[in-house]
């Protein structure tokens, strides 16, 4: 148990360092690149912004004349108070306010898609390995590799066109029906599911192949391992061996990859959201890019990074809970 706690602490330390790197990158990128977004605001509000507001904007955009380390200090202290500056596109709304629910919807969509894809892909992979050379094992991997080669958003466009627009089976935009107020009622949950279905489906289709192959290959290794052969020799039912011995052991390395996959699927989710007008961070990212809303862009990057890092650490915790070996 002690070893596990130590390992988790080390992982946490690593994520903290990664977070610091992200913060520093976020600080440096706007200061090293050309471009002067603040002038946009100064120009529009000349004469009316009080000196404090202008100073605040200058800080946000890194336009102070102060030496870099002082700028960094004020940047960090603003960040510590959750102050990400003012959005340009939605001026004068603070970035933190614009971020709003976005992260939650992206998390729901990306998290849900990863989870479904992981469970489904791993199960199929285990089956494929179990019946090695069988129909499942011959057809699925190349097919899924082909599907996996499509850009997320392209499949999303196709799905939106066929199932949303032509067949009208699923809604084409938003995270829930506009006439519902968010609540923990069944109609609302149902609405959330039907709105997330198509975007999630495209993400699952694209990422399924990776999980299947990963599971299949580790599974083949595990099936050859001694304790599995021993179990077979003991005359346990194949089903029991598959579920209790082989699949369980083969799953562990995949769980470790789960956190990493989140980052990837998140990238896909951002693009898919754009196609489905899903009110997550992807759509905001696009708004920020098109509107040259740099403060919002920086804020989004930080928020998404922190979310991914936290998710990774959670996965580590789950890994420890599942895997006795990391505890020793």
């Amino acid at each position: 148990m002690k070893a596990a706690a130590g390992w988790l602490a080390r992982r946490l330390g690593f994520y903290v360092i990664a977070a610091i790197v992200a913060v520093v990158l976020n600080f440096l990128i706007p200061r090293l690149m050309p471009g002067d977004p603040a002038s946009v605001l100064f120009a529009r509000f000349q004469g009316d912004l009080d000196p404090e507001a202008i100073e605040g904007l200058r800080k946000t955009f890194g336009l102070q004349d102060a030496p870099l380390h002082e700028q960094f200090y004020s940047y960090i202290s603003a960040l510590a108070h959750g102050d990400l500056g003012l959005s340009v596109a939605y001026f004068p709304t603070p970035v933190s306010e614009v971020l709003g629910e976005g992260l939650m919807w992206t998390g729901l969509l990306a998290g849900g898609a990863v989870l479904i894809s992981f469970v489904l892909g791993s199960s199929l992979g285990a089956l494929a390995a179990w019946k090695k050379g069988g129909p499942l094992d011959t057809v699925l991997p190349p097919l899924l590799a082909f599907l996996g080669a499509f850009p997320y958003f392209w499949l999303a466009m196709l799905a939106a066109w066929v199932f949303g627009f032509q067949l009208d089976w699923f809604p084409l935009r938003h995270a829930y029906a506009d006439n519902l107020a968010p609540s923990f009622s069944w109609p609302f949950i149902q609405s959330v599911i039907s709105h997330a279905f198509l975007p999630a489906l495209t993400m699952v289709l694209v990422s399924l192949g990776g999980w299947l192959l990963a599971m299949r290959n580790t599974m083949i290794g595990v099936l050859g391992a001694e304790h599995v052969r021993y179990a077979q020799a003991r005359g346990l039912t194949p089903r029991r061996i598959l579920v209790h011995y082989a699949a369980r052991n083969a799953l562990l390395p995949n769980v470790a990859g789960f956190g990493m996959a989140l980052g990837f699927v998140l990238s896909g989710a951002l693009l898919t959201e754009v196609v489905f007008s899903y009110p997550g961070t992807g759509l905001l990212l696009l708004t920020a890019v098109r509107g040259q809303d740099y403060p919002l862009l920086q804020g989004l990057f930080l928020a998404i990074t922190f979310a991914v890092l936290s998710a990774n650490w959670l996965v580590d915790v789950v890994t420890v809970a599942l895997d006795p070996r990391t505890r020793t």
């Binding site: 990158l25 690149m33 995949n254 951002l270 989004l300």
Partner: protein, 301 residues
């Protein structure tokens, strides 16, 4: 290299992949001379496929076939250049970390792992938004966000090689680490570097198309990503003009598929026993931290 190629040729999947790849190379580098100007307005907008325009016209009345063919060139070029740069950096950083070991390895590994865990697309978008649009910026952004995968894989390989006798012998005989890295380690990782290059190219094509779709590329250039951007801008869904986005999408998928197939074949060559299957780069669609290995064994017992 020849050795790798001849053994690759034995794999049916790799042959299919290489055939497809050859097709795309022809399309990218010869095709543009066979089709018309992709930016010329030589038809009414949004015409369906016909004898005159085999794949119809775009919302601006440009020939979809010409755009798809010419788009292959930009996309493939950016993909290949990025792929090479990514492998180069990956080999240097990974090789260095693996060869030197110790504190250097700890530091570089930390750097690699941090870049692995930072979400790629938002970082790309932030960078691409600040840089002026164009192929050079695009490459820079893709390299900066994509090098870590290869560095990780190549470091692991370098680390393994370091344990081998011939490297140990070289170390004992007092050879400099630079010589060890370039003479003993890197040449012995060619297979892995080739597969890393392929993986990195898949990644670069996918990420590039994604960024361009968001409008972060140079809209004046014809590429697969901008084709999809325009299709979406011209309301392809609403007008039911599927021909404006289906051909490009299929090309992207087929190219990715071809490269994946080659890599499957390559994995079988470099790792016949699949004892320690290595992932080959940050393909955006395969959760790469886990280690899937070739399908080749699935196809044949």
């Amino acid at each position: 290299m020849t050795r790798i190629f001849t053994s690759l040729w034995k794999s049916r999947q790799a042959r299919v992949g290489m055939g497809l790849l050859l097709f795309f190379f022809l399309m990218a580098f010869v095709g543009p001379f066979l089709v018309g100007d992709p930016l010329a307005f030589d038809g009414r907008p949004l015409l369906g496929p016909s004898a005159e325009h085999w794949l119809g016209t775009t919302g601006q009345g440009q020939d979809v076939l010409a755009q798809t063919v010419v788009g292959a060139r930009t996309t493939l070029l950016v993909g290949l250049i990025t792929g090479s740069l990514v492998v180069l950096i990956g080999a240097l950083v990974g090789g260095l970390a693996g060869t030197l070991g110790g504190k250097t390895d700890d530091g570089l590994s930390l750097l690699i792992n941090i870049f692995l865990v930072l979400p790629g697309l938002p970082l790309m978008v932030v960078l691409a938004a600040w840089l002026p649009a164009g192929p050079v910026s695009m490459c820079a952004v893709l390299v900066l966000t994509g090098w870590a995968w290869n560095a990780r894989v190549l470091r692991a390989q370098a680390l393994t090689l370091r344990q081998r006798d011939f490297v140990a012998a070289a170390q004992v005989s007092g050879e400099s680490w630079i010589r060890i890295l370039f003479v003993e380690i890197l040449p012995n990782m060619t297979g892995l570097m080739v597969s890393s290059f392929i993986g990195a190219t898949i990644y670069a094509v996918g990420a590039q198309v994604g960024l361009e779709f968001l409008g972060l590329g140079d809209l004046g250039v014809v590429s697969w990503g901008t084709n999809l951007y325009w299709a979406s801008n011209d309301q392809a869904l609403l007008t039911g003009s599927w021909w404006t986005f289906v051909p490009t999408g299929f090309c992207i998928a087929l190219l990715g598929f071809a490269l994946t197939l080659i890599n499957f074949g390559l994995d079988a060559v470099t790792n016949p026993k699949l004892a320690h299957p290595q992932r080959v780069g940050p393909t955006p669609f395969i959760p790469s931290a886990v280690t899937p290995s070739p399908v080749s064994r699935a196809a044949k017992p």
